[in-house]
């Protein structure tokens, strides 16, 4: 078990290294340099040139790379030149928003997908099952941004049930109950959209798992002992099918990250995904490189997490 984890972590290191090299090279190809944003008509060109030399702009690329990666290890990704604050502070502020959004999404996802999956499996081939499978197929096929926009249009604009952008109404004081409620209210619609989009995997998995366990010996034994059918489901089948669902958490995190660019852009929610789009548009490449590194790291972490949970829960998948 531990051996597997250690091996997986060790494999992550070269992958992150290659990723960082790729990002660094791409950043070098981006137009402009970190001081483009500081140049105003009054700036003395000689002063800018001096800053460039001091920041190592003319150093050989490998020296720059080593400096960059060394600083990155200490959490220093340079300064954002559109916002003129350290990149790590900027990202940390946005990451908290994304984190809240993700937590609520994951909660809603399980709240929605687990009952649907269980019902579909239990009443296999019924009308209910067919509708649930049909629903999960549709959300599987819809692109994130299309569902996001349609939700925003109907529930935000047409029906006016939800706010259409931002994180919190300005009228509330930070920390008050109204503030917390307003914050929750603002992330509800994007979180629902996220949750809907991610349901397919869990529904399909739970459904087939429950159909499989119906014919298992332990279920037949329980039934023949006269245990009520509802109890057979809640005690035996459900518990056995539920654990592997935990393993989806890692994949869900990865999926949420990919979708966050679309969701946050559509709902005007200031998280990491929206920051990335802003940084690209502003050619703010210290922010871009840091975000791509962070997303790459989180993707790796997500799949590692899934594998670990999977090997704890399901001994058949254990690889070592």
């Amino acid at each position: 078990m531990w051996k597997t984890i250690v091996r997986r972590v060790l494999v992550m290191i070269p992958q992150l290294f290659v990723l960082s090299l790729l990002i660094f090279i791409m950043a070098k190809f981006m137009p402009g340099d970190p001081f483009t944003g500081l140049i105003t008509p009054e700036t003395d060109p000689a002063r800018v040139e001096e800053l460039r030399i001091k920041a190592g702009f003319y150093d050989p690329w490998y020296v720059q790379y080593v400096n960059w990666i060394g600083n990155a290890f200490q959490g220093d990704f340079g300064r954002s030149y559109t916002f003129n604050v350290p990149v790590s502070n900027l990202i940390a502020g946005r990451a908290i928003n994304t984190l809240w959004l993700s937590l609520l999404s994951v909660f809603l996802l399980y709240l929605l997908a687990i009952p649907l999956g269980v019902l579909a499996g239990r009443f296999q081939d019924s009308f209910l099952d067919k509708s649930i499978v049909f629903y999960s197929f549709i959300v599987f096929a819809i692109p994130t941004f299309v569902l996001g926009l349609i939700n925003l249009f109907f529930f935000g604009y047409e029906l006016g049930w939800f706010p259409t952008s931002g994180t919190v109404d300005i009228k509330y004081e930070s920390g008050s109950a109204g503030f917390v409620w307003s914050k929750f209210y603002h992330i509800l619609l994007p979180a629902i959209t996220y949750a809907l989009l991610a349901t397919t995997g869990i529904i399909q998995y739970l459904r087939s798992e429950i159909i499989d366990s119906k014919s298992m010996d332990y279920v037949r034994t329980a039934k023949s002992k006269g245990i009520p059918i509802n109890k057979v489901y809640s005690r035996h089948i459900f518990r056995n099918s539920l654990l592997p669902i935990a393993a989806f958490l890692g994949f869900t995190i990865t999926g949420l990250l990919g979708g966050s660019i679309f969701i946050e852009t559509i709902f005007g929610y200031p998280g990491m995904g929206k920051l990335f789009v802003e940084a690209i548009n502003g050619r703010d490449y210290s922010v871009i490189t840091a975000l791509v590194m962070l997303y790459g790291f989180l993707t790796l972490l997500g799949s590692l997490l899934s594998d670990i949970i999977m090997s704890i829960v399901d001994p058949r998948i254990r690889i070592d």
Binding site: L19, V146, L149, F153, I261, F262, F276
Partner: protein, 301 residues
């Protein structure tokens, strides 16, 4: 078992197993929704290509401020955008562009994925090891972000560059799938027999192994096609897809990022969003039906 003696051995009919095409046709006959999807897809895609061919794109993209945000009506069937340009024309040309990109990317990534997957699966050893490390790396990178960064680095990009950038990151899934199937296929007896006969590797791989993997490949490519339509329109939606002067379904949908247009000019973005929705659902339905015919256990008919 009581009927055993009733079977007379005088007439033994040897039925040949149905060919791949027959199985697929039977599957579509059984699944009305898939049949409907297939027919409507053919009509819609054919119609889009034929119609777009008759539209003059420079004429279409000419700005006419007098018609700014014109409502759907006599002059413009689906209204006009902020620049007074016909939405219906942009929808048709945009759909043609989006579909073309998705088709070309699917073909390129399918070809590269198949070649790499087959070679890795057949030879194994160090070739497989090298490619697997590369594939592992591609899986870990946040490809959406890297594609966006790539698009912004390239100083002048057109449809061709955009297709190449997308293809660069999307062959990985197919390669992995084909490799795993090729690995088990290459251990079959017919491959060993062919090797003993001295058949050249390249002939074994492409003439003997590939036909047996073709059903999986078709399923994978159909689903990839749907995914590529989604990715292209998504990137164009964010503004990192096709250049602004080239219509795309995603660009039309992106008009909705302006709250005023979202609320008051639904004809700017809703038709494109619904067309994307239709394409994705229909392609996925067709893909599911083909998948069922490729896997005997799932077949309906």
């Amino acid at each position: 078992m009581k009927n055993t003696e009733a079977i007379e051995p005088k007439e033994i009919k040897v039925s040949s197993p149905p060919t791949g095409f027959q199985v697929i046709a039977r599957e579509f006959m059984k699944d009305k929704l898939a049949m409907f999807s297939l027919i409507s897809l053919i009509i819609v895609i054919g119609g889009i290509y034929y119609w777009a061919w008759q539209i003059d794109q420079t004429q279409l993209m000419r700005i006419s401020l007098r018609d700014k945000l014109a409502e759907p009506g006599e002059k413009f069937f689906l209204g006009a955008d902020k620049g007074g340009r016909d939405i219906l024309g942009q929808l048709i040309v945009g759909a043609r562009n989006s579909l073309t990109i998705a088709i070309v990317v699917t073909l390129i990534t399918g070809f590269v994925g198949v070649v790499i997957g087959l070679v890795c699966g057949y030879f194994g050893g160090w070739i497989d090891n090298i490619f697997m490390r590369i594939i592992d790396f591609f899986i870990t990178i946040p490809s959406l972000m890297i594609i966006i960064v790539f698009v912004t680095i390239i100083p002048k990009y057109s449809i061709v560059e955009f297709i190449l950038i997308m293809s660069l990151f999307l062959w990985v899934g197919t390669a992995r799938l084909i490799r795993s199937k090729a690995l088990s296929e290459s251990r079959r007896d017919y491959i060993s027999a062919s090797k003993t006969l001295g058949t050249r590797n390249i002939v074994i791989i492409f003439k003997e192994m590939m036909p047996n993997l073709s059903s999986i490949l078709i399923v994978d490519m159909t689903l990839n096609f749907a995914g590529n339509v989604g990715l292209e329109t998504g990137l164009s939606f964010l503004g990192f897809g096709l250049p602004p002067s080239t219509p795309s379904l995603g660009t039309l949908v992106s008009y909705a990022t302006d709250p005023f247009i979202m609320e008051n000019a639904w004809w700017n973005w809703l038709p494109a969003a619904l067309l994307i929705l239709f394409l994705m659902l229909a392609i996925n339905y067709v893909g599911q039906a083909i998948r069922r015919s490729a896997d005997a256990r799932q077949r309906l008919g």
